[in-house]
Each structure stands twice: as C-alpha cells, then as structure tokens.
C-alpha cells in the first residue's frame, strides 16, 4: 500500500513588498511525483534551499500545496477535515530539538501528543513507556529536557511522535544541529523503528552517511526530484551528485578515484566494509 503519494506537487512562496504587491514567486517544490510504500525507509537528499523541507511539511499537512495533490495514507491534505487524521498518521520531527519539546519533564513531553488526541490516562502512560524504551530514553523519563544532550533531546522528540502511534514518521533534518555522536544515536533510533516496528521512515538530510541504509533515495534540486534509486545506484553517479552540490561518503569517493585510476573497483561502494572486501579480493 502506498503511504504517501504526490501528483505534480507544487508549492510557491510568494514574495511581497511593503504594500503587499507581489514581487516574485519562488517555486520551492516544483511538480514532484512521489510514491512511498508502507514500511519503507526513504531518504530525501538535497543541499540547502533545494525544497526538501518544504516537501516534508506537506507530508504533515503543515503546508498545503499550491498545485497538485498529496495523499497521506490515502487522504488528501487539502481537505480541512482530514488534517488531524493525517497528523496522527504522519508524525514529524523537526530540526531544532529545543523548539519542539513542550513538556518540562521528558515523560510529559512524550505524553503531549497522546494527550492532544484524547487518549485515556492509563493508555498514555503505556504509550509513553513503550516509546521511551523504543528510543532508549526510558532511564531519563524524569529528567528535565534542558539537561539532555542534543542527540538525547532529538530521541525524546522521536519518542513524542512515536507515542501517537503513527504509521509514518517524517524527520526534517533531525541531525543538522547535532554532533557526530548525537547523529549516530538518532539514526540508530530511526533505523530501529523502521526495522522493528515497521514504521515508514522518511529522513530528510544532507548528510550522505545517513542515507546508506535507506531502501530508496530521492535527490532534490530546485524543487524537483533529480535522481531516485537505491543508495548504491545513487552513489555510483558521483559526478552528477557533485553537480547538485552534494558530496558522497569518503569511502565512495576513494573507490571512485581508484576506479578512475584503473583499479577494478565496482561502482557505488557505500561502506568501509565493502571497500575492504573488494580491496582484499584485489590483493589476493
């Protein structure tokens, strides 16, 4: 079943001068056609200003398309009556961990979503416990969010979404403000959710290392989808990626350089492990 489906999705930012006259129109998202299956781990790549965050906000009905349509779990986001059902189905994690935590205690923040949905008290506690355990933050349930590290805060945010029992979770650059350690923690949590709980995960990022494990990768530029395919397919096109102002993982780059120098490396090497295996084959 398809979780998210877009047809010619377009979103325009209208710039106005001080009198309110239209100065110009920027198409942040320009005719995007997507089809995301349930249970997939999708990564959307793109440099700053490529429209990937704008696209993400459509998946949660925060933004409504200027043209075209987007269906989330079969519901059209343009219809007012669907909005809250869509938000229950597609949770969203934002970039800045400080600006999305509402509660003053970790467990209260995780309970915020279920509270809004009118879940009975007893069940809220169950959901909070499950979600915090799923992201490995149960030991911190009584802590103040201010005392946590960035990666921990972001995992609390993920738990907050998880407690709403969504089918799909959209992560809008969740690691952009984190240190390498925090990035690893968050990505590990997202992968676990996708694999164990079978929740559709849509990860928006500009860090290449994070998309290695995705089922499918979309590369965006100027509001359009320029490339799509498995990580292997995408990363084998190093030159195209660099044209779109994206860098590939260092191992891929190294393998590509070796290949160009005449060594028979295969295209699209993603991890150090793969590189080592091929290197050993070559040497022996």
């Amino acid at each position: 079943m398809s979780m998210i489906k877009t047809k010619k999705l377009t979103f325009e930012y209208i710039h106005r001068d001080e009198e309110g006259n239209v100065e110009g129109i920027t198409k942040a998202v320009d005719g995007v056609d997507l089809d995301i299956k349930e249970g997939d781990f999708i990564a959307i790549l793109g440099h700053n200003g490529s429209g990937k965050s704008t696209l993400a906000k459509h998946m949660n009905a925060i933004l409504s398309p200027s043209e075209g349509t987007i269906y989330v779990a079969g519901m059209d986001t343009r219809e007012e009556k669907n909005i809250w059902d869509i938000r229950k189905n597609a949770g969203m994690v934002f970039q800045n961990p400080d600006n999305q935590i509402i509660g003053q205690v970790v467990e209260e923040d995780v309970g915020f979503g279920p509270e809004n949905m009118g879940v009975p008290t007893k069940e809220i506690w169950q959901r909070v416990e499950e979600s915090l355990k799923a992201v490995g933050m149960y030991a911190y349930r009584k802590h103040s969010p201010n005392k946590l590290s960035g990666g921990q805060k972001q995992r609390v945010s993920i738990a907050g979404v998880l407690a709403m029992h969504p089918k799909c979770i959209v992560l809008d650059e969740p690691t952009a403000m984190l240190d390498p350690q925090g990035r690893k923690e968050v990505i590990r949590a997202v992968r676990a959710l996708n694999e164990v709980e079978n929740i559709t995960a849509i990860l928006i990022t500009h860090y290449m290392e994070e998309v290695v494990y995705a089922d499918k990768v979309f590369v965006m530029d100027k509001g359009q989808i320029r490339m799509e395919g498995t990580p292997k397919e995408i990363f084998s096109q190093v030159d195209e990626l660099q044209k779109l102002r994206l860098t590939v993982p260092q191992v891929t780059l190294l393998a590509e350089a070796c290949r160009k120098a005449g060594m028979p490396f295969s295209k699209g090497i993603l991890t150090t492990k793969e590189f080592m295996e091929e290197l050993q084959c070559l040497l022996s």
Partner: protein, 273 residues
Amino acid sequence: MLKDITLGQYYQADSVVHKLDPRVKLVGTIAYIVTLFMFRNLTIYLIALSFLIFTIRLSKVPFSFIVRGLKAIVILLIITALFNLFLTPGEPIVSFWRFSLTYEGIAAAFYLAIRLIFLIIGSSLMTLTTTPNQLTDGLESLMKPLNKIKVPVHEISMMMSIALRFIPILMEETDKIMKAQMARCADFESGNIIKKVKALIPLLVPLFVSSFRRANDLAMAMEARCYQGGEGRTKMKPLKYQKTDYLAYLFLLVYLIVAIVLGKFFPLHILQV
C-alpha cells in the same frame, strides 16, 4: 551559571506538604492571606504564626531557606514602614521639620510589616513545596469555572508552562548573545545607568528576534502533534484528591474558624488605634 537558575525556587524534599495536591496548597495560601488581612489585632497574628510554624515544620524546608525569600523585599519593607511611620496623621510623639512620628504611624507600620512578612513567608512556602508544573496544573483546574465566562483558562496555563519551559533556554541564549557581543567589544558593565541601558539594546534585539523564531517553530511542532487547544484533551497526570488532601482541607477549615472566632471575639490589643 545563568543556566542553573530555576524559577519558583522549588525545594526538593519528601514531606506531607510536598505531596499535597497543588489545589489544596493554592486554596490554603489564599485562605491564609485572607486571615492576615481580616482583623487588626495581635490574636490573629499569633494564630497565623502558629499555623505557619506548623506547616513549615511539616514541609521539612529549612527555615533559613524561607527567610532568604524575605531578602528581596527588605528594601520595600523599610520604605513602606518609613512612610507609614512618619506620614500617618495623628497624635505626634516626636516631630522634626515637617515630619512627625505619630502613635498611629507606629501602629500602622507595625501591622503592615507583620502582614507583609507573613504574606511573603506563606506564599514562598507554597512555591518552595510545589513544582511550577503542579502549580500551573492546579491553577488550571481551580480556574476551570471561569471558562463559562469565556476566560481562556487552558490557554493561560499552557502559556505559563511554555514560558517556564523556555526560561532556561532563553537564559542560555542571552548568555550566548552577550558573549558574542562582548567578543565584538560591547561593554555591558561600565558607565552610568543610561549607558548600561543603551548597551542592552544589542542584546535585546537579537533575543527578541530569536524568541519569535522559536515561538513560530514551537507552534508548528505543537500543531504537528495534533494540538488543537484544550477541547477533547486528556491528561497524562490528572489531579486527584487523596485522603491527606481532604484532611488538609479539614485542617484549613478548622484554622479559618479558629482564626475568625478568636480574632473577632478575643482580640489582644497592643498599639490599638
């Protein structure tokens, strides 16, 4: 560090008073304040004093901690006491130039000082034993009847708890901006008052801008998590009265009756006007 400041100066301890329902504590504080202003004789203050001492002992909050709260109002106390002492019209005892110390003035200053001190101690005992969170919960639940006259009770308490949540974050941000401006030779410390206030402008402007941005982000995050106002919301930690809460209410009632009866019919007068 600025980061470590907490509002409401909650004192962590394991006591009966800490465990009471915040509503009981709020109602109790209000009742206590009312008794302070009901009569002007010594009896009522002796009763209030014994009530205070009893609850402080129950709360296990060290007395020095409570007195610390008084420091903030010492200046206010002295000024109002002086005004009362010298500017209350009446029978002069000593007089010099235009001012005269009157008997009525002494009485007014005395009662005012006692009332203020008791008021501060009583209300700080409440904030010391109640977390800001519980306090907003309690207020929301107590003010719920006001919903009928279109007071946005839930919104007010949501705003309060978000404000509390963001105080440490904004503190940290202030710290950061201050350091950034200092690195560019901003001077926050020297000069007279006007200069100091002017120096704050490059601190306040970015702080305002960033808090608006934060508010915008937060609103979006709340909407993304299905926040639609107070209607249809359930509570993760609903307030529920326990046996001790009913006992506390009973105790409060007894206190009120004793205070009213004794204060009215057995007034102890000193400095009676």
